[in-house]
């Protein structure tokens, strides 16, 4: 930074802090963000019932990488000590799906498998939910896959399975490394992938499994928006030619991992397994999923107040420049810094820094304290990594700063305070409101959050979209069409573009 620019930057910072109204409004923006956020967190209560008894909601299990997971499946397994492996031939995959009731109260169940129903072979650290695993499986519609530790998914060959065209699956352990293979004939094997499960104990569980996530239906709301529902399904895998290698002592054990109990003590939607000792045929039926979960309170929920804070930031940002035109002060500014591009850039940077500094603590407090309030109210807040938390907080402060500079650029272009504030709110705030409330269809909402400056809000999304988990990934559910940094980049692009136009206009005209 050259001395000249540094002096201009310092002058603009002095300008900002010496007008009390601007400082007060900026602080108000930070406080509004915190207060509205904490208020919305306080209003979010969750409680779970166990029959007539109200209980605390259980926290979802957590996978080895720290994310909340579904870990619910039927497991037929033995103990494996040291290196070894399992090979099985899958001859069929069937299931049933409960569809929306046609006759109210009468269950409408049809035969079929959902796209991510799974049946295959698995090696897992233990039968505890969330423990490390690797598995090679057939899926409902996505062919053979190798998955491990919930978030990792590698595709094998596509296609289905039948008695005429069975699929051979194999999983081999060598120390921490597990390798998945598949074959059509049990002779020629193709490697799918490998997984390194750091710290896998010597003795692990090895066996066959099946599971089937709920059938997701998304319906268009009457006034725009959408409603999603998941209904019961189950999947059954038929295996034969099951072979084990290595030290697999002990008998086969059946476990319905993660099954929930009804108030009367019975299992709710239990899985099951049949085994013919004569033909060595296994039939495993499971309900659930082995995948990261996206159901639960997202930790960025308390940041909803940021939208109101942002409107105040926009007002200050616009007035920071239009007041100079209104009072003729722009000429004094240009006498002090006659290189106009630099002068406006210094002003923009000063505003960006002030906004970032004011909103960073506000967002950090809202996020952490709001999260604590949510958990205190019984909400199961989805855990996210420290890196994600820092990214959400710093990203939101960056969004405030970029939006402020964009508003300033609009103010410099339009030179009218009211017009610039309205324009900035319309391009930054309104698209986000439209996209995240039940106003627009999901497609239009995604489109808005891709092409408008509101794309920057993607930075607050803490739970990622998983390609191997079917979900209602819509803005209304907190899922943005662009990744966090790409969203911020769209906003930054608009900011740079309009600041550039403002500089061109400032240069090209008599002041």
């Amino acid at each position: 930074m050259s001395g000249g620019f540094g002096r201009l930057l310092r002058a603009e910072l002095t300008k900002f802090r010496t007008v009390r109204g601007w400082v007060v409004t900026m602080i108000a923006a930070a406080l509004v963000t915190v207060l509205l956020g904490l208020l919305s967190a306080s209003g979010n209560h969750a409680s779970c019932g166990f029959g007539p008894v109200e209980t605390a909601c259980p926290s979802p299990p957590v996978g080895p990488d720290g994310e909340a997971v579904d870990d619910k499946f039927y497991f037929v397994h033995r103990s494996l000590s040291g290196d070894g492996g399992i090979t099985a031939r899958l001859t069929s995959m069937t299931g049933q799906i409960r569809k929306p009731d046609v006759v109210p109260g009468q269950r409408n169940v049809v035969a079929g498998v959902v796209p991510w129903a799974k049946a295959g072979v698995m090696i897992k650290e233990s039968t505890e939910q969330g423990s490390s695993y690797a598995a090679v499986m057939m899926t409902g519609e996505h062919g053979v896959r190798m998955q491990h530790d919930f978030t990792h998914d590698v595709a094998g060959r596509p296609g289905g399975v039948s008695k005429q065209a069975p699929r051979w699956l194999r999983l081999v352990r060598s120390g921490d490394t597990l390798t998945g293979y598949e074959s059509d004939d049990g002779t020629t094997w193709t490697r799918i992938g490998t997984a390194t499960l750091a710290g896998l104990p010597k003795t692990v569980r090895i066996g066959l499994f099946a599971t089937s996530p709920g059938d997701l239906t998304v319906t268009q709301g009457d006034l725009g928006g959408s409603v999603s529902a998941a209904r019961f399904t189950e999947a059954t895998g038929e295996f034969d030619q099951v072979g084990l290698q290595g030290d697999t002592s002990g008998a086969w054990r059946d476990d319905d991992i993660g099954v929930t109990l009804a108030p009367d003590g019975s299992e709710h939607h239990p899985g099951r397994a049949r085994r013919s000792s004569v033909t060595d045929v296994f039939s495993v039926t499971g309900v659930g999923d082995i995948a990261p979960t996206i159901e639960g309170s997202r930790p960025e929920l308390p940041l909803s107040g940021a939208l109101t804070g942002l409107v105040l930031v926009i007002v200050v940002a616009v007035v920071f420049v239009t007041a100079e035109y209104r009072h003729g002060l722009i000429r004094t500014t240009l006498l002090a810094g006659p290189r106009r591009g630099r002068t406006l850039a210094a002003k923009a940077l000063a505003l960006g820094l002030v906004t970032f500094a004011a909103t960073l603590p506000a967002v950090a407090v809202t996020f952490t304290v709001g999260g604590r309030i949510l958990r205190g109210n019984g909400n199961a807040v989805l855990p996210v990594s420290l890196f994600t938390q820092v990214r959400v907080v710093a990203g939101m402060a960056a969004l405030f700063a970029l939006a402020a500079v964009l508003a300033l650029a609009l103010g410099a272009l339009l030179r009218r305070g009211v017009a610039a504030v309205i324009t900035a709110v319309v391009v930054i705030v309104v698209p986000h409101v439209l996209a995240t409330t039940s106003v627009l269809p999901d497609g239009a909402a995604r489109w808005l959050l891709r092409v408008t400056p509101a794309a920057g809000f993607a930075t607050q999304q803490s739970i990622p979209e998983y390609p191997h988990v079917l979900g209602h990934y819509a803005p209304i559910a907190g899922f943005y069409p662009l990744p966090p940094w790409a969203g911020l980049a769209v906003l930054a692009g608009y900011t740079a573009l309009f600041l550039g136009l403002a500089i061109v206009r400032l240069r090209g005209r008599d002041a």
Binding site: G3, G4, R7, L8, R10, A11, E12, T14, K15, T18, V19, R20, G21, A323, E324, H327, G328, L329, R331, T332, L334, L335, A336, G337, P338, R339, D510, A511
Partner: protein, 305 residues
């Protein structure tokens, strides 16, 4: 840096109006140069072009040999007062100067010095929005002095000042010139500059009409005119008419004679025995000289345009 302003062949058009039409002049150090002309003559536009605020269609303006835009820490080269009302109302006088000081790498101490110099020390921490026009003028002068520049440009600095303020302003301008600075002061009223300016640049319709020292300008306007005071006015007129002088009656006992030096007038009157009480060179005021010069250049006179 030399303390000069050079304006060379500036032309600028605002739509159909030719605002500057070959404006050229030089402002030298060590004197107060008055920049006078009727409203609309192009004074403010010229100043704005010099300061890089407006772009000229043709010609160039240099401050100390450089275009304003290329100056580093420009307020330490040129101090300008253009519009004393250009203030953020909510900002205090001191803070207004403080951000300007920071933009030039100066600090709060310099701000306090100039506030002292213009007599605003006691109201330094009051909001500028509540200032009278006179106080704003003083604050504007303080801003111009902030960088201790060798060149000063003040657009109508006396506007809004009370009589005491006018005296103060004149003294300040004189002392700034005495320091060796180049001081350009514009006004549309010649009498405001009468006791202040050493040199005048008189403009009309976007160009320079006269560019001369004040003493030369008055001398030129007075040239060849002689005032005669006599009780025998008609006798004196008869005598002078015979030798071909042109005359105008300016009072019961006074005539102004043109075309004859004062020695010849005395000789003619003595030869005819006409009594007279005074024969003297006519001293016109600066105001009269200015009115003569700008008579053609006034853009708007009365209701006709």
């Amino acid at each position: 840096m030399q303390a000069t302003i050079e304006v060379n062949g500036l032309r600028k058009r605002f739509g159909p109006t030719l605002a500057l039409d070959g404006m050229s002049f030089t402002v030298r150090p060590g004197q107060v140069t008055g920049f006078v002309g009727p409203n609309g003559a192009g004074k403010s536009t010229t100043m704005r072009v010099i300061l890089g605020l407006d772009a000229a269609d043709e010609g160039h303006a240099l401050v100390g040999g450089q275009p304003y835009v290329s100056l580093r820490r420009p307020l330490t080269h040129v101090g300008a007062l253009l519009d004393a009302g250009a203030l953020q109302p909510g900002r205090t006088a001191r803070d207004h100067l403080l951000w300007l000081a920071h933009s030039q790498g100066l600090d709060g101490r310099r701000v306090d010095e100039v506030l002292q110099q213009v007599g605003l020390r006691s109201v330094a921490r009051r909001r500028a929005g509540g200032f009278s026009l006179g106080m704003r003028q003083r604050l504007g002068v303080a801003a111009a002095l902030l960088g201790d520049p060798p060149v000063l440009m003040l657009d109508e600095p006396v506007n809004g000042l009370d009589p005491e303020g006018i005296v103060w302003m004149r003294g300040l301008l004189r002392s700034l010139a005495a320091d060796g600075r180049a001081v350009l002061v514009s006004s549309h009223l010649m009498r405001e500059l009468e006791d202040t300016a050493d040199h005048l640049v008189v403009v009309g319709k976007g160009r320079v009409i006269a560019d001369a020292d004040v003493t030369d300008l008055i001398a030129a306007a007075s040239k060849g005119r002689v005032v005669v005071r006599t009780a025998a006015r008609s006798a004196a007129m008869e005598a002078l008419e015979r030798v071909g002088a042109a005359m105008a009656v300016t009072g019961l006992d006074a005539i102004v004679v043109s075309g004859l030096p004062s020695e010849r007038v005395v000789a003619v009157l003595n030869a005819d025995g006409v009594p007279f009480s005074e024969v003297a060179k006519d001293r016109v005021t600066l105001e009269q000289a200015y009115m003569d010069l700008t008579a053609d250049a006034v853009e708007y006179r009365g209701a006709t345009r």
